[in-house]
């Protein structure tokens, strides 16, 4: 297990450090979401959980010594003319398809970069995906916070067991009918009064 160069331990701690951290974060988040009693703490767990996945994806896209996928000057297929066409955006830098004449480009043929050249660029896709995932995460958190607010207004607490208790009492009080919103408001007011 611990070979001459550290073997597995070295691999886990040095080469795969990101992945270890992501697993740890994932588990912390999962634990908080399932085991915590406070609704806000659950949401904090949810955020940690989603952040762990973002870390995982970003780690996928890391490449040592690579640059962002914008043409380096020496690779620019448009050469010094590029400045003349400031509005002419270069196509995907990673395009490995055969060089095809761009109909709009009347001056040059767009050359696909060679494998040797593309190796100097990092893959932007995982990061772009994570931009989307961050947006989704923010939206989820926003909706969840709004829901917690609604729960707090109705039951006067954000502790899960107390909410459950309030719901149980409510359903026992009016067993056969779905309580009208009025009676619920009344009940929650009473509960708040009791607390105060």
């Amino acid at each position: 297990m611990f070979g001459e160069d550290g073997g597995l331990l070295r691999e886990l701690l040095v080469e795969r450090f990101n992945y270890c951290i992501y697993v740890v974060l994932l588990l912390i988040g999962l634990y908080a979401m399932i085991a915590k009693n406070n609704l806000i703490k659950k949401l904090i767990g949810m955020s940690i959980f989603q952040t762990a996945i973002i870390l995982f994806y970003v780690s996928l896209g890391v490449k040592e010594g690579a640059s962002i996928p914008i043409y380096k000057p020496e690779h620019d297929p448009h050469g010094h003319h590029a400045e003349d066409h400031a509005d002419h955006k270069p196509k995907d830098a990673n395009a490995s398809s055969s060089a095809s004449a761009d109909a709009h480009d009347d001056h040059h043929e767009v050359q696909a970069l060679t494998d040797e050249q593309t190796r100097q660029y990092a893959n932007p896709l995982p990061h772009v995906l994570m931009l989307t995932a961050i947006v989704v995460g923010v939206a989820t958190l926003g909706v969840a916070l709004a829901v917690v607010q609604r729960i707090y207004r109705a039951y006067g607490t954000i502790e899960e067991d107390e909410v459950m208790k309030a719901i149980m009492e409510e359903s026992q009080g009016i067993p056969s009918t779905k309580g009208s919103p009025k009676s619920k408001k009344g009940a929650s007011k009473k509960r708040k009064a009791k607390k105060a």
Binding site: Q50, S97, L129, R150, I151, A154, K178
Partner: protein
């Protein structure tokens, strides 16, 4: 116009949703017509797409947004929308169900969530956009985004109900996020290994580079599988579903209950057949050995829990959980007829669940409670509503000529041919439970027998009920017509089942699934 019919499916509800946001303030009354019209447009796009898919030679149409190409290797740079027979059929079900619910929702929305028509229809249309998108997208990451679009709007729609619904929504948010995140993780591992997110592209890379034995692929498979099972409320992970759906506003539960779980089953089928491929997915692993037994446990437990309920809507939600077990089982017994049954059951279950929830919504509105005690003598009051409701019930039980009979027939045939007797027994057990459930309801609705067994009267002509509880008092037409339409669809799919099955079969034929007992 016709070649852009796929884009129309998303564009109509999307722009309808934007319009509803703006109309939500001063011109609330316009939101309902906008929703109906935009879903009508989507429905036209859906039917047109199905027509084109059936007419095309390879039975699939590729639609690329933004002028990207599929020429590079691995396939696909941009996001591809890929309509094949499976996706198109499910998409059509989604749009059709949503259209009927939109028709139905006029009264319930203005009564249950007054002055919130704007937000409601915005979320409603976005939900439909998300669900229809899931059915047609050909990109694994895009699928995640659409799952979250559908989930987020679903949270909003459910939480619009009572405070109890908000409490249920919170659990849904937590479990839904765990499910979707697991799916996202799985997609990350897939991308790590194959370098593409296009579903067909992933499959091509797996075959060409022979990745079947790779541990990374196994991890991806398990993460994606777990995530989808949580999202579809498969039995041990079903905790979020019953409360969320039974406390949600009527129109919400009518929209979500038939669609969300079914669409997630579609995702599972898509992942196993298209992305990972038959050989990889059904390889003998711990997963494929364990899952059929979990299905048995799921069906039996969910059916038993449904039996214990005394509230109509709650009971129906447990039925959904049991039905999810049927369909997952149909996939994992690994048999051609099982898969035909599974896909057909996705379609028929969406229709019959819609029928039941529309009926339950009318009962809830008329009686004020969905508890069993409120049901007595209802047939005399609302004969048409109850007839529609019973058609849905008979279909869940599996009585011919409803569509539920034929899909269950295929499932059981598949189970027998694959010699999965435990699955067949579980299905039959669950059928028995549903017979008990629905005939207990029918007894109550017709004969008015009390919980204790004491009879009120001798038939629905003589119930000893006060005059005002027995006089003819049918549901308003805006609710009744969608219910009867959905009941008619349940019967029509049953009668024309061969046509639907033919479409499903021409999708499954090239996959070389085992048809007999040879495993």
């Amino acid at each position: 116009m016709s070649e852009n019919s796929i884009a129309l499916i998303f564009a109509c509800p999307l722009f309808g949703a934007v319009l509803c946001t703006f109309l939500g303030g001063a011109k609330r009354a316009l939101c309902h017509p906008v929703a109906v019209v935009s879903l009508g447009g989507a429905l036209w796009g859906g039917i047109e797409t199905l027509r084109r898919v059936v007419a095309s030679e390879s039975h699939e149409i590729s639609y690329l947004l933004g002028g990207w190409t599929l020429d590079s290797y691995p396939r696909g740079v941009g996001i591809e929308f890929r309509a094949d027979l499976l996706g198109t059929l499910i998409m059509l079900v989604v749009i059709g169900v949503a259209f009927l619910v939109a028709l139905y929702s006029k009264l319930t929305v203005s009564e249950e969530t007054p002055e919130k028509e704007g937000p409601f229809y915005t979320l409603f249309l976005l939900q439909v956009t998300g669900l229809a998108g899931i059915c047609l997208t050909g990109d694994a990451f895009n699928l995640y985004v659409l799952i979250e679009v559908a989930a987020l709007t679903g949270y909003g729609l459910i939480a619009m109900g009572s405070a109890r619904a908000a409490a249920a929504t919170f659990n849904y948010v937590i479990l839904g996020t765990i499910g979707a995140s697991f799916y996202l993780l799985g997609v990350g591992y897939l991308y790590m290994k194959t370098g593409t997110l296009n579903m067909v592209g992933i499959q091509e890379v797996i075959v060409q580079q022979d990745l079947a034995d790779s541990a990374t692929m196994q991890v991806a498979f398990v993460f994606i599988g777990l995530g989808i099972l949580i999202k579809m409320a498969f039995f041990p992970f079903h905790a979020w579903l019953p409360n969320a759906y039974s406390h949600a506003p009527t129109s919400t539960s009518c929209l979500l209950a038939p669609l969300v779980t079914k669409v997630m089953i579609y995702v599972m089928i898509r992942m196993t057949l298209t992305v990972f491929g038959v050989d990889f997915s059904f390889e003998e692993t711990l997963w494929t050995k364990l899952l059929p037994w979990l299905v048995v446990v799921a069906i039996v437990c969910a059916a038993t829990m449904a039996l214990a309920q005394r509230d109509l809507k709650k009971m129906l939600t447990y039925l959904i959980v049991a039905e999810v077990g049927y369909m997952v089982g149909g996939v994992w017994i690994y048999n051609y007829y099982g898969l035909v049954g599974s896909i057909f059951h996705v379609i028929s279950d969406a229709c019959m669940t819609l029928c039941l929830f529309l009926g339950a919504g009318i009962i809830l509105r008329k009686v004020g409670t969905s508890h069993f005690d409120g049901l007595k003598g209802l047939f005399r009051r609302m004969p048409l509503t109850m007839t529609g409701f019973f058609v849905g019930g008979f279909s869940i039980i599996g009585l011919p000529p409803t569509c539920g009979f034929f899909s269950k027939w295929y499932l059981i045939t598949g189970g027998m041919l694959a010699e999965r007797w435990e699955y067949v027994v579980a299905l039959l057990f669950s059928t028995m439970v549903m017979v008990v459930l629905f005939f207990r309801l029918i007894e109550r609705i017709h004969l008015a027998v009390k919980e204790s067994g004491e009879e009120f009267g001798h038939g629905h002509g003589d119930l000893d009920l006060p005059e005002n509880e027995t006089r003819f008092d049918e549901a308003p037409l805006s609710m009744l017509i969608p219910l009867l339409l959905s009941a008619a669809v349940v019967l029509l799919i049953g009668i024309y089942n061969q046509d639907v099955v033919n479409l499903v079969e021409s999708f499954l034929e090239p996959l070389n699934l085992p048809k007999g007992t040879d495993r």
